[in-house]
Point group: C5
Chain length 246, copies 5
């Protein structure tokens, strides 16, 4: 559970609602169905035109990482890889067959399978590098869906505000509605700037950070597996990987 | 058929028209011939000065990819390349001559021809890399035409708004027209921001994504063909290419 | 003759003048000597401080490329290089001495001279690479002069508008001049945004594209000349260069 | 003690408070609890959503570098490394064991330990390079926390201003409060722009500069240690490292 | 003497002062002590927090380059290096000892000293490359001080304008001061945008260009010295360096 994300969401809500109350407009002034339509639907439609289907699906499935990030236990990875190298030294590469079945992550399964099959170290490196960069590209693409939304939302907010001001200006004859009309026009700006800077962009950046950490862990695993394939001794492998910790 | 693009276009239209109705200015307030002239013609003229003729033509011809993207069937490409490697193993490289004629994509035809001609693997790699990057540069350039339009359009919208406000200010003597004049001035802003952020920039980004996918597929094909030229066995080639899938 | 550039300039003028007429302020409202002084002289002075003399001169001399771009005949270059390789094969490298005199481009003359002098292929590559990147840097620098002007112009427009609004505000006592004063203040914005986005930035981008194309052609020539020096056969050289066409 | 940072903080405070007094609104006009809530809490909440816990902790612990930067004594590092090389020449690599205990920096301890253990030069380079880039990534990430806050703060300032203007517009019926309401709305803008540009962004940039300097020092130490492992003579090592000084 | 810089400074002053006169506010309207405090001191304080002491000192010492740039005589450098290569050929490397004393630039002295000492070509390259990049980093850092000021100044201008408008709004009761108050508020904007775009950013860019040219000259010198150490003949060295001229 990512406490910081949860705290961030709660504080962000307090900042907006509390700010509106303190400023004296109250919470109900923050609702406008027209603004919601323009900013919400506008942002979503721009994103749908921009992003292909598999990336949309991946984005939907990784959004939970904001609150439940995948394991980032670097020390655990080092221990696991060192364990493999000891098994390989004791029982030979075939001794790792049991480990393949224990693992649930298909990336680790594939790396170990190549090792057990006796592939050349360069060949393992090359094949697994393609895997790493394919996965990294896909997940970064998914994280950038939220970035794209965070870039489009404020422009939709301006669009909504301009449309609201237009409506006000066309009805200047009735000055009693001037103030409330302008206030309503500004709601779109709040939706656009607020959703982008309090939620969408920070979420995109957290996801990009998680993807980077995962890529680093995968590179560690591949470096370890390649070292095992080269016959390095377990102590050297452990000491090499420990640099990633510091 | 790219359903997401279609949905995006429909929702974008609903967001703008519906928003204008909900705000109370109605749909007819969104039309202004002056704004259309300044934003539409202005954006097009800036683009014409910037972009050379072959890129304009390519841009016009790839815009259909928004709705009908070229095949992105990575698994199919892997199967096809694996098939070639089996043919080559069974019947020799000359056995691939039939495949050249079956193919319609000139890129694949050229790669296979080089293979059948018995070119060196390094030579195939080098020649096809030039092909890949020439095509990628051209298609990216074409996608960036829409990006350029999406960058110029909002500035033209500001230009139109400023010109509209100027007209209003010169006629302050007649305050009854003040409101409708300002409203009309804002229409240019809506054209500029709306066309850029709801259509042009998302389209440019979808096209750039498609170009990237095509480049990756071409790199897979070249990697496969070079592996065949090196005499790698079909199973290894398949397993190497499968990393692109995951 | 670059028809697109010409068309772009004409349409841009129509968009601004026509827009001003349709908006109702007329064409004469677009003239302001104060705005011209601030935006025009301001943009030029910032550029003079930024850019060294040789780059200014080069910028002035390549601006004609907007309408008369240098030859971009890639197919012609391939034919020419293939011709050289055939001459070299038939008559030896010394047979190319006549071609040096026929050529007018000093870049090509230098490359051929190195070839005829019997320089090592690596040495030709190295010397000509320095030539290519020196020329590319100079021409890109010249193209960026227009980019710099396109970046400074809108800020000068804002400067002019603020100065105009200041003048209006100091004379609030005379409200009859309020409207025309604000209108006049906006003219600087139109000069800044219009000159940048309709002319300067698109011109800079077209020039950068031309420089890139020229660099690619020079790289093709060097690749060809180096291949001739290595004794490659004419058919291979032609097929290698053809990848740049597709 | 970083005198410039201290001077900068004092002058920044004078600029804001003195400016407000000279402009005639006085210092008390700069306080608004609503603006503080929206800008302060808003910026913090966006940052919490964006940044993972270890990076937040690291950011808190390096913020003191603004006033007390870690040692940047390049000449001292050169002297120290040259001393090691002389010890190694006189007493062999084992003679450096005493130096390991003297050092407090775990990075230097690890490098010397590898040297004393007789590791291969390439192996020291490789292991220490991972250490350098892991530490650099972590500290840069921590510096970028302040950058992120400096990017979000101004947008929160706009959000607060818009919410303040909304409150004003809803109460247009009471024009006596119009002026003070608008003034209060602007306070959020001052908080956002001021905190970002007078404090957060300059701090982030100073921290990034410090991280870069530390990375360079670590690279010098590794270059020295690797040279010692290669058996270079002390005078050569000193002359090689002196290039970093100039 | 850099005539363009001088001309730029004069024209920039004319543009601002003349524009203010033509707009009708006169020159005295451009002075505001509050604006000067906020924009001037604010920009300086942000820069002091951001930049470490040695970089500030270097920035102060290279600012004269705007008007008196260091020599950019590429042809002279080629001639000088060719002269060294002839001396080395005639009198051996030791014959260059006299040239070391003639030179005043410590960079050239160091390169020649390494040559005379009989260092290996790779060793000269490696040591001098560190020198080049250390000097380039320092001078670029110094040039970026002006860039940083040019980025902070406009935001300080907005800060000052908002504070000025706040003061105006708090005193709406006295409408006679409304106009002059708003005008005074705008002065900060003029200071910020004007100083950044007419002086600071163009100066930063000219300095960056000068640093780049110096780096290129140093690379030429090192390439020449390394060639001499490799025993290349003087004519080849001259022809290799001439590529930098074209």
């Amino acid at each position: 559970m990512d406490i910081l994300s949860l705290l961030g969401f709660i504080l962000a809500t307090i900042a907006v609602l509390g700010g509106s109350v303190l400023k004296g407009s109250g919470i109900q002034a923050l609702w406008s169905s027209a603004a919601f339509l323009i900013v919400g639907i506008g942002t979503i439609s721009a994103t749908l035109i921009q992003v292909p289907m598999p990336t949309v699906k991946r984005a939907v499935s990784i959004v939970v990482w904001i609150f439940k990030p995948p394991s980032e236990d670097v020390a655990g990875v080092i221990e696991k890889v060192t364990g493999w190298s000891q098994t390989a030294r004791k029982d030979g590469l075939l001794g790792l067959e049991g480990n393949i079945e224990e693992e649930t992550d298909p990336f680790i399964k594939k790396a170990l399978q190549l090792l057990v099959d006796g592939s050349e170290p360069e060949s393992i490196q090359q094949i697994m590098d393609v895997e790493i960069s394919t996965r990294e590209d896909q997940d970064n693409g998914a994280a950038k869906v939220f970035e794209a939304m965070g870039i489009y939302a404020p422009t939709m907010g301006i669009l909504g505000a301009v449309m609201g001001l237009m409506a006000v200006m066309q009805n200047l004859a009735d000055p009693s509605k001037l103030g409330s009309g302008i206030a309503a026009a500004f709601v779109a700006t709040i939706y656009g700037i607020g959703s982008a800077n309090l939620f969408l962009l920070p979420m995109a950046n957290k996801l990009k950070g998680i993807v980077q950490t995962q890529t680093k862990q995968r590179e560690m695993i591949v470096e370890g597996v390649v070292s095992i394939a080269q016959g390095d001794n377990p102590r050297n492998i452990e000491s090499k990987l420990q640099g990633f910790l510091s």
